[in-house]
């Protein structure tokens, strides 16, 4: 995944230009667990924020993190503090800003920051909805290098078109795992791939059996 190797490049670019990086995890909080999809991308995005802060701490790159959920604010601040402390720069203060949980206000707030601060990089990762188009457009406007990804597949096209490096769906969670570099965590992603292969095999066998008029596997899994 290009986005993983692009983060140091993004930080380097920001350091050279002397401009900040904008990061947003979207408007989804950490208490929404519908179908196991909503909170997970936000948590993964916050882990990416931590790694980005760690990489950016050494050259002293300012990272402006925005959120549309007040409950994410203290968690994001703590993650940034832990990351910069681990990088040996406890003096760096987190710049996490709550904008609004109202879509329009959140979009305007993010666009305002991107535009006013003339950010060198724009990282938009999480359960990002229709706001992705606006945020990426604002990033293009100031010539920012853009890394983005949404767990919402209907909004993935915007990232493919406008971001320099994009992540689709579950790649967000995998990126968060890879960036930490912990072998156990990376191993869990490899294990997930094995599960995916097994699921695909079951789906293919199930499809063939149903087509052949033997729906016993489908019935078994339904129960």
């Amino acid at each position: 995944m290009g986005a993983i190797s692009a983060l140091p490049e993004l930080v380097g670019r920001a350091a050279e230009m002397g401009r900040p990086i904008h990061f947003t995890s979207g408007r989804v909080g950490m208490t929404s667990f519908s179908a196991g999809t909503s909170a997970a991308p936000t948590i993964a995005a916050l882990l990416v924020l931590g790694e980005l802060s760690k990489i950016g701490a050494e050259p002293g790159v300012s990272i402006i993190a925005t959120t549309g959920e007040a409950e994410v604010l203290p968690v994001a601040e703590e993650i940034v503090i832990s990351a910069v402390t681990a990088a040996g720069h406890p003096e760096m203060k987190p710049d996490v800003r709550f904008l609004s949980n109202q879509l329009r206000s959140y979009i305007s707030g993010c666009m305002g920051i991107i535009s006013r601060e003339k950010v060198a990089g724009n990282v938009v990762i999480g359960m990002i909805g229709m706001e992705s188009l606006y945020l990426l457009d604002a990033g293009l406007d100031v010539g920012a290098m853009q890394i983005g990804g949404s767990a919402s597949d209907s909004n993935a096209p915007w990232f493919v078109c406008a971001a320099d490096y994009f992540l689709i769906g579950e790649e967000i969670i995998a990126t968060a795992a890879y960036l930490g570099g912990d072998p156990t965590v990376v191993g869990s992603v490899a294990g997930e791939d094995v599960v995916k292969i097994i699921i695909m095999a079951i789906m293919m066998v199930g499809s063939i059996l149903v087509t052949a008029g033997m729906p016993w596997l489908t019935e078994l899994l339904k129960n």
């Binding site: 196991g36 203290p74 995916k196």
Partner: protein
């Protein structure tokens, strides 16, 4: 007391609680025994309460942060002051209104918030068209595929498409129901799996960066 505080401050304690509760929920899901079900019901009530406290924590953190900006007269302190004023007014109006009826909270909401939100929406709606053309450029092979698909799907929905060529609706329909649907389902399955793995990592204490 100091011993208790040192235990509470350690990261291990939250991880232990998280692991026990997380594994309990998994156990209760796969073994629907009456005892487990009743404890699970009780714990779900706790989750709602903790969720509310998490929101409260967010608001308190935000208030402290904005107050700090005002006190130090940092850049944009006026916005922070305005934020606190609006926050206080909203809370006061809400508590004053109580559960006695619609007014005055809904009047405040309908006459102030809704028009502002609608105004913002209309501004952004105009902007979306320009943003669409700026963002949706063919910058790579993937974006070419997207734009090509977009043309067919757009002409499928627009009556002029069928008037131009009867093949547009058929191709557009095929794109929507076959490759787009397949990719969407695959993406949903993968993100659900990824979410489960991430949550398992947190429950088992392997993902320490979040605490």
């Amino acid at each position: 007391m100091s011993v208790l505080m040192s235990v509470l401050k350690k990261k291990e304690l939250p991880f232990v609680i998280l692991t026990i509760v997380g594994l309990f929920f998994i156990l209760a899901y796969y073994f629907p025994l009456p005892l487990l079900a009743s404890v699970e019901k009780e714990l779900r009530g706790w989750v709602i309460i903790m969720g509310i406290f998490l929101n409260l924590l967010g608001v308190v953190s935000l208030t402290i942060k904005e107050y700090g900006i005002i006190r130090k007269r940092l850049a944009g302190w006026e916005s922070s002051a305005w934020f606190l004023v609006v926050l206080i007014i909203t809370v006061v109006v809400f508590f004053y209104a109580g559960s006695s009826g619609k007014d005055p909270f809904y009047t405040y909401f309908d006459t102030l918030f809704t028009p502002l939100d609608t105004g913002m929406y209309s501004l952004l709606t105009f902007m979306v068209i320009a943003a669409f053309f700026r963002v949706f450029r063919v910058r790579s092979w993937e974006s070419f595929l997207l734009v090509a698909s977009l043309v067919f799907v757009m002409l499928m929905n627009a009556p002029v498409g069928e008037a131009m060529w009867s093949g547009f609706p058929a191709i557009g329909q095929w794109i929507t129901t076959v490759p787009a649907m397949g990719a969407s389902r695959a993406s949903e399955i993968c993100i659900a799996l990824g979410g489960i793995i991430l949550m398992m990592r947190i429950i088992l204490g392997l993902e320490k960066r979040i605490m």
